[in-house]
Point group: C2
Chain length 416, copies 2
């Protein structure tokens, strides 16, 4: 047993402090702005749900990963495992008051009792957007467009692979593969990105497929053309802002989930090696299967941690160690009022500033505090400056300093 283990973060869980918390907030805000620009509205569900709602909805293996327990009232409850099932409950529960097509986004944490490993956590953020109650191809295109534009707004070059799940199923069936095997074959094809065709052939052989069937399947997948509806989705998506050369028909794209019924897609960033950063598609039967409400839908899930990592590696997330633009120092106890006055005036001009919180601490220690905290500027008001109603602004990076009036200072800090 580790000593004081109870004073540690649980394995697979994370604390977010200062700079990292701020960077995450920046990205969340960006994503949220794009959602709203496309007319999606926020949706929040509680962390706890009746266990019965979640169990059996994600497959037997996933059931084992659900955090669940009995509450004090004897109810079996479970922590949010994804955002799709709670959203389905909400659609069923509020269907009289919701206006369809319902365009909603959800940015919330989910919990999975998975083995923690690099890049995989037990608590992580999911960003979902869906259009519920529309079977129009325009909705598929709008989903592609909002997803693509999130990355465009961040400044990251996203590529989209798209495919038609219906056509993929048809191709598989045309090889004489029986219905019960289709999804298992899809799951093997889904690994095309990470494995060699030989590996997948081996896997399919083990699943009982004949060598010729597999060969036929691979050949067919190579020659297949986008369906008319997929072509149209692609055209409309381009009109809604997806860059022409960023969207690519990929007949081997399979997606691991069994509920997709039409267009499917995956996003990846060529400069980022961490894998797909999100994906989705049309799922016209899922809400009915989950909660008994017949409701076509199309949507996606954005992988926040991977998107964050990619954007951060590419230098797209502004880094500020401190939220403050400047530290207003206190020169000496008799001059503290002047410093408070300047602090107050800058804050009233909507500038983020800290003020030294102790009038007995030496100036050089105050400068050191600003330096360690990464506050870019320091403001000094000595007796001479106080008399002249001016102040000294010191750039902590260059070490340069200048004497200014408060008005000039506010102007300068607003610009920087």
């Amino acid at each position: 047993m580790v000593k004081n283990q109870n004073f540690q973060t649980l394995k697979g869980f994370r604390d977010f402090l200062g700079e990292e918390a701020q960077k995450r907030q920046w990205l969340i805000q960006k994503i949220q702005n794009t959602f709203e620009r496309f007319g999606f509205e926020p949706l929040e569900s509680p962390v706890l749900e009746y266990e019965e709602l979640l169990m059996g909805k994600y497959g037997t293996e996933a059931d084992k990963l659900i955090y669940r327990f009995e509450d004090k009232g004897g109810r079996r409850v479970a922590m949010r495992y994804d955002q799709t099932v709670p959203a389905a409950r909400i659609i069923s529960q509020y269907k009289q008051q919701l206006i369809f097509p319902y365009k909603k986004y959800q940015i919330q944490l989910v919990w999975r009792a998975d083995k923690p490993q690099k890049g995989r956590y037990r608590e992580f953020l999911q960003c979902d957007a869906d259009i519920v109650g529309s079977s129009s191809l325009f909705s598929d295109a709008e989903i592609l467009a909002v997803y693509f534009n999130i990355y465009k707004d961040i400044g990251v070059n996203l590529k989209l692979k798209i495919n038609d799940r219906k056509q993929l199923i048809d191709v598989i069936k045309q090889q004489g593969i029986e219905d019960a095997m289709v999804f298992s074959v899809i799951q093997s094809i889904d690994k095309m990105d990470k494995k060699t065709p030989e590996d997948i052939t081996q896997e399919l052989l083990k699943k009982g497929l004949h060598e010729n069937t597999i060969k036929g399947l691979f050949e067919k997948l190579q020659s297949v053309q986008p369906t008319e509806s997929l072509q149209r989705i692609q055209d409309v998506a381009i009109k809604l802002g997806v860059q022409n050369d960023c969207i690519q028909f990929t007949p081997t794209l399979a997606r691991g989930l069994d509920y997709y019924t039409g267009m499917i897609f995956e996003g990846y960033i060529p400069e980022y090696e961490g894998g797909s950063v999100g994906g989705g598609g049309r799922y016209d039967n899922l809400i009915k299967d989950l909660v008994g409400v017949d409701m076509p839908a199309v949507g996606f899930g954005l992988g926040f941690d991977r998107t964050f990592e990619a954007a951060d590696q590419l230098g797209k997330i502004p880094s500020r160690k401190s939220s403050s633009k400047a530290l207003v120092t206190i020169f000496s106890p008799d001059l503290f009022e002047k410093s408070l006055e300047i602090t107050q005036r800058l804050r009233n001009s909507n500038i983020n500033v800290e003020c030294s919180l102790d009038d007995t601490i030496q100036l050089d220690k105050q400068l050191k505090y600003a330096d360690r905290k990464g506050i870019p500027y320091v403001i000094i008001i000595g007796p001479e400056e106080a008399k002249q109603n001016k102040l000294i602004l010191k750039d902590m990076k260059s070490g340069e300093q200048e004497t200014l009036t408060v008005e000039k200072l506010a102007e300068k800090l607003k610009k920087n």
Copy 2:
């Protein structure tokens, strides 16, 4: 048993949809902006902690309200009950890398298995700010100032009651009340707001105090003056932006928690009848008691639900049923490209717009959708407009419509 109970929200938990979710986001953003303007940085802790960290930290009654269970790995874990204890863990865990004074804020959900009733939920948002590692009175003043300014920024008239817990304890002891009884007496005095002096007298009599002692205590509490340090905190707070007439020395202010060691305060909104909207104070021993790290601190907790209710009742939270400024309709299937083009141009100008997602739906149905969703404007591009490169803008409230170019439209929507 309710039918399909598993498809309902758990008792004491809430779903937030559309308008309400948006209003809450607005308020969170406001609070966050004020925190950052005062140089506080964000801190996020996981939902789950080792049970041992939380148990016994809030008192025996509170322990019963903690959501806790055994995870798959046999660890006893518990859901966040407040933000102070996880923050103490983090301060202990990261004390080498943190820079003190550490000014942090936390805006996160907490869970309490309380009896749900009007205004009391099992899942609710807490907003805390603290300055850790400073025993300067300036820090107390900064805490009052940031709390006050949150409400000022929202546009709500906040009053602050302040007191010195140390002096309150001295006054109680001066009446000859024994040490072991002091906190129990404080808890009775804390009810001064909600109960009559007679009720409190009765309560104190039951606790074993003599009638004369109680009388003496009440008299003394009436005549007591603010301590020198409290006076100084108040002066500095006023210099940092707290309005002079909004801060009131209240010698009977007690606060229910036992850990305060100096200045204590509570905020209330005269126009709002739901009670105190938050409060806090100095707690110089708590972090040591919790995690063994000697660290003076001062901070507050803001009641989000009450603050939201008050601000909403007072009409301070902008209400928009939809995040979209306009719906771009599709006049007919042959004109859909024109509508997509306009949508795309408006979004590129950073205007939130929806586009109709189906080119086979009649125009009047599209208008009805915009009306029901509360989208303020509708844009129509018929054959005539398409030819002239113009469009019709219809104000859904007044019913007025005008013909414009896209440029004029973007200008107009940006202003509104």
